[in-house]
Symmetry: C2
């Protein structure tokens, strides 16, 4: 069925019909001029927005509508996770080209709703429109936390240790595999890496635990690549950093398949994007507590370096010494018109 | 200067540099993974999002970047106004084609910031990307109010009176004038009507006054046209309505220029969109209080009809009796691929 058969209000009604019941914290969801909802008393508002544009951020020949729905919310959940916040409410804008069918929208919202339910998030608002050509999605995610307990980019101090959750480089390797073969392939390692690209797991409970226990001094989610996101922490905290490439956690699948690639695993980790793991700094005395906490997490946690004085800059050290940072920069949507390897 | 010369992070820094200082309620604005801000204790969160897509919602040969910036926020302010809420914080997503220059972005944010400051709103988050072709803007606006005092679409009761703020039909007539002449024209009435289309004033203080005084039982902002937006109130409130066309307020400029058009003024008011006036229902005993309140507003207020039982449906009455509702429907972005007269 085509969208024009049900119209804009029909589409909104269809989305609304498929949503789970709203919790008592939502007084008014979709269907009025604005949504009305309550934060937990005493908590501050944490808010983020991410846009996903067809052929810039995703390719519909690679990602299914269901996974696109999941990922549209996951990238925002990752931002709230990076503050140590609790995600609560979401709003979505979609401009939809005429070729997109109603079934696509159904699958998209099935994925979106599953991700929302898994993280306790309610859809409370949105706007839809036709689009002459490309599918455009903008998702706003609202969460909560205590402003003094949330973790920012600017709190890292020289002498702090640097950690990451999970493994890095999987997402970029997964994207390269599918770009190389043209279609999703079926070897188990390839499926794993592709799934890390298409279906990332935001580290919400991990970020919250670090915030609640007061362990992290600065935190960011790795969306642009480890090097690029580390640079943001260094800039905002006015510090430098050292990363040891042999400490960067790599999945067994990446280690197995990386030999087929021109890059080594740590290069993929450093310049790759969309890992949606957390990078954080913590005082040196907290290492045993952090490692113990990481054992409770499926993704684990790894110390990969340390914070240095600002004058030291950012140093990436492999077994032979410093690596040229120019090789490791993340992707800038404006600077490079056709991204070679990032989505 | 082209956007690729400054890059995505350069653009964000440039926007950030031009923003006014943040109020104490904003703990973290643009530049971290998420914004952190505080609502007034005891208030609930009111949230809305609107998307504006080039060649669907706006035409850059008609609207300047400065006015587009103002209008991008104004349409959201109007949604918060329609709840009787107080706007507080905003987030913006923009996908920008390569032909757009940095100066365009500067002008856009000058307009956006002026509108934000005029209504006490702070920009606390955003996301930017390149776009292969069209400019895409999605603005989220967060506000506050007490959920029991806010005004919804579903509270109208048979016997209530129906009111609108300001004058209707100006925006559609303004758009028609510029579409007819190709360029903005300079006769004072034409300038007024075009300005009503390009530079609408959201009725925030009017909506808040109606909410605070408990005068309105249902309220909506007129963005799709009086007939279409009245239908939303009737559907949600399970009521019917009568509108008297001779009561629909028309500006002197519209009355003067409408004779040159094929439609009469009330037809433009009923089917036209983007007036961004408020339509609300109120108990009959409140008329004198509402009219007195309206005298304090620049835009004024007019009683245009009454709420009927649901079985009566929606009746538009002119001097000759009922008007055919089929002639009066608003614009549906999906149902009509090329809108004849709405932007």
């Amino acid at each position: 069925m085509e969208l024009r058969e049900i119209g804009e209000f029909g589409l909104i009604a269809r989305i609304q019909d498929r949503l789970p019941d709203l919790p008592s914290s939502v007084f008014k969801g979709i269907g009025d001029d604005a949504g009305v909802a309550s934060l937990t008393p005493g908590r501050d508002l944490v808010s983020t927005v991410d846009l996903l544009l067809e052929d810039v951020h995703f390719d519909l020949s690679v990602i299914s509508p269901y996974l696109l729905g999941r990922k549209s919310l996951a990238v925002n959940l990752s931002d709230i996770a990076a503050m140590g916040g609790l995600p609560r409410f979401t709003l979505i804008s979609m401009a939809v080209p005429p070729r997109i069918r109603v079934e696509f929208i159904d699958d998209f919202f099935r994925g979106f709703s599953e991700m929302a339910q898994a993280f306790g998030v309610s859809l409370i608002g949105g706007d839809t429109s036709s689009s002459p050509d490309r599918l455009f999605i903008s998702v706003t995610l609202l969460g909560e936390g205590r402003k003094d307990a949330l973790v920012y980019r600017n709190g890292a101090r020289a002498g702090d240790d640097l950690y990451v959750t999970g493994t890095l480089g999987d997402s970029l390797m997964g994207l390269r595999l599918v770009q190389r073969t043209g279609r999703p392939t079926l070897a188990p390692e390839e499926k794993f890496l592709l799934s890390r690209h298409l279906n990332p797991t935001p580290r919400v409970k991990e970020g919250q635990a670090l915030s609640e226990k007061g362990l992290a001094t600065a935190m960011i989610d790795i969306s642009d690549g480890l090097f690029s996101d580390l640079s943001h922490i260094c800039t905002e905290s006015r510090v430098g950093a050292t990363i040891w490439t042999n400490r960067i956690p790599q999945s067994p699948a990446l280690q197995k398949l990386v030999s087929a690639s021109q890059s080594s695993g740590w290069q993929l980790a450093l310049k790759g994007g969309e890992d949606y793991e957390l990078l954080f700094a913590a005082p040196p005395g907290k290492e045993s507590e952090i490692i113990a906490l990481g054992r409770q997490w499926d993704c684990g946690v790894t110390r990969i370096g340390q914070v240095e004085p600002q004058t030291s800059g950012i140093n990436i050290l492999d077994e032979n010494g410093p690596v040229d940072p120019e090789l490791l920069k993340g992707y800038d949507h404006f600077a490079r018109p056709s991204p070679p390897e990032n989505s």
